[in-house]
């Protein structure tokens, strides 16, 4: 077969798979697909909107795609490169927690005091310092200002 014929056959093959997956959906979910197709077809839709619609259809008709992404990520996280990336993020959070705790102690500042100064709850400060949550860059800046120090003193990436 020619290259063009191969291409057409592959496209028809893909279409048949999509049609079969669609036929297996309930009527409600087939309506969802139709709604997403309308977004895709509309000349008013942006590329980003079309992409969101396509992702929705892909997940609806082929749920294994998302599961494959999860599995890929698990494998990556267990590999050396993934562990190194994760470790870097964790060490940043650890540095932040230790430095902020020390500076708060030096200034006899409670979590409630610091929370009030930057406009979050005491429990938010607790979660950040216990490393249950990673601070946003904006939060690091606010905390540095509240403590009267340079950001580099509490966040290693800025040093």
């Amino acid at each position: 077969m020619t290259t063009a014929a191969n291409l057409i056959e592959n496209n028809v093959w893909a279409y048949m798979q999509v049609q079969c997956a669609l036929d297996e959906c309930s009527a409600d979910l087939q309506d969802v697909v139709k709604e997403m197709l309308e977004i895709f077809r509309s000349s008013d839709s942006t590329k980003d909107e079309q992409q969101l619609a396509v992702h929705t259809i892909v997940d609806l008709l082929f749920p294994s795609v998302a599961q494959d992404l999860v599995d890929d990520a698990r494998r990556y996280n267990l590999a050396d490169e993934g562990k190194a990336e994760s470790s870097k993020l964790t060490s940043e959070e650890d540095f932040f927690s230790k430095q902020v705790s020390k500076l708060m102690g030096d200034r006899e500042l409670s979590q409630t005091d610091l929370a009030a100064r930057i406009g979050v709850s005491q429990s938010a400060i607790s979660n950040l310092l216990s490393r249950k949550c990673r601070p946003q860059a904006r939060t690091v800046k606010k905390i540095a200002e509240a403590l009267g120090v340079e950001e580099a003193l509490i966040w290693p990436s800025n040093s």
Partner: protein
């Protein structure tokens, strides 16, 4: 890349990704380190302060209901930092209104992660969020 916390439950909600949110994230963050960063922020939804506390941050993240989807309990959480070159990042989430019998905690589903380009959500975006919520319900919840 799991957005949920798996066996390491913490907070008041169990954060789970809709499949299409995973596909969004894969497209938006091809580098794993960017994905990991966004994921860590998304997991703060485990500490969501509750629907009556709009204005109170999710830890250090601003959130609000999406007005046109308020009755469906769909909200948006802002990431105030640049990740993977993207600004104005939003995590769109749905607070499930009932728990599965075997759920240890009530669930918050992330429906999408995207870089918001306009002030208001567009009609197609709103339709997509509702559609994804319907898919999550059809797959995970038995409606009465």
């Amino acid at each position: 890349m799991e957005l949920g916390v798996g066996s390491n439950l913490f907070g008041a909600y169990w954060v789970k990704p809709a499949g299409s949110a995973m596909i969004d994230a894969n497209r938006l963050f091809p580098k794993c380190k960017d994905y990991q960063l966004a994921r860590r922020h998304a997991l703060k939804l485990a500490f969501w302060p509750g629907g009556e506390n709009e204005g109170e941050p999710v830890v250090d993240m601003d959130w609000e209901w999406i007005r046109a989807r308020r009755t469906e309990r769909i909200g948006e959480m802002r990431i105030h930092e640049r990740i993977g070159g993207h600004r104005n990042l939003r995590i769109v989430f749905w607070v499930a209104d009932k728990t599965l019998t075997d759920d240890p905690l009530p669930r918050i589903w992330t429906l999408s992660v995207l870089a918001k380009k306009r002030q208001d959500w567009t009609s197609p975006e709103l339709k997509v969020f509702s559609a994804r919520r319907k898919i999550v319900i059809a797959r995970n919840y038995k409606l009465p």
